[in-house]
Symmetry: C2
Subunit: 208 residues, 2 copies
Amino acid sequence: MTQTRRRRANGEASRQRILDAAADVAGERGYEGTSINLVSDRSGLPPSSIYWHFKNKDELIAAVIDRSFSAWAEALRRSMVMPPEGTREDVFRLTLKRSGRALAEFPDFLRLGIMLILERRPDEPTARQKFLEVREHTADRTRALYELYFDDLDADDIAALVRLTIATADGLFIAREIEEIDLSSAFDLLANAVLGAASRLAAARSQP
Amino acid sequence: MTQTRRRRANGEASRQRILDAAADVAGERGYEGTSINLVSDRSGLPPSSIYWHFKNKDELIAAVIDRSFSAWAEALRRSMVMPPEGTREDVFRLTLKRSGRALAEFPDFLRLGIMLILERRPDEPTARQKFLEVREHTADRTRALYELYFDDLDADDIAALVRLTIATADGLFIAREIEEIDLSSAFDLLANAVLGAASRLAAARSQP
DNA sequence: CCGTTCCTGTAGTGATCACTCCAGTAAATC
DNA sequence: GATTTACTGGAGTGATCACTACAGGAACGG
């Protein structure tokens, strides 16, 4: 057991099928609504296989979040390889837009994560904790970006802007469940809003 | 059965106790996690009483949303009785801030509603539909407000700003579950962001 | 007092829940 | 070919699920 192990049967493929089915079901019905039997039916694998791959339901959901977040982060990283050109503002706008597009592509972890946040269960720590970690990671990256762009603002203002940005991204994600939304233009407007708020904050600093 | 009926036993009080308990449980565990037995335990009333007052679980949750939204709308209405003074911007800012404060006071319907939106269940229409209604109502009111304040923008821009505002309010509400947030200053920043975005939109219109 | 209406309490229903036991099998290692 | 490792299949565990049937009590109108 030194490296990634060769698969004897179709273990890794089964694991992925289970995760696919679990993401599907959890996206439809929430944490409580995700029954192992349903995951079993949709994946075509018996409950015993699910419990061979995952310790329990909690860790199954955590794995779904983990995989979807990794996919999102990877898509984001790939989209950032080519740095955008244009004015300072153009670059900022495009960076936000790319994040939004990547979110629309891999929505599972955000959907599940927000559900787990809202369901304040006392007894399901792993999945929730996993989401809080990836969220914190995202906040750090956003903060780093904003410190670059808004160098005339102090740390508190930056933090507030980051919180505003993430909150709006969450909210737009929810809105997308209700009505058809052009995420591209929505994130463009978000960029406008952040830029506008930043310049207003800067103005307030200079003449309090 | 012409008017509001006299209560023979403690019917109305029981109904409220059930709603209190249901709001409590649903806030903790989501729709699926809200078991009638748990509501029964917390309210101190047997399941048969719950089913006497409400047709089924779906309508119980819908009633929770309805009551919480009514309380919020009433709190909002009361806070708006005294129109704010100051500059145009000050008034706008204060109006948003009041809405946010009222939301923090009666959070149940928003929490439950967002959960129901994210859980795209095929078979629980009433509660979800109820939330979509109150949400549409809120959007209409916000739109009316924005048409007053941003008379240099066209309908599409107004609609986008309204969507942005509601999305951010949703997102801030979620963020409040994770970390301590000063909603007052957060909604103040939201006002700044909307004002900033609006002026940028207006500028883009005048020189496309 | 009687009857009606409102509401509660007891005791269930079959279905589904998360999860387990364990025998069986196919591939890799020896 | 024997043994080990990696999974699958089936059958089932007790607990809990939403929901119901029904008897009975308390407050009312008559």
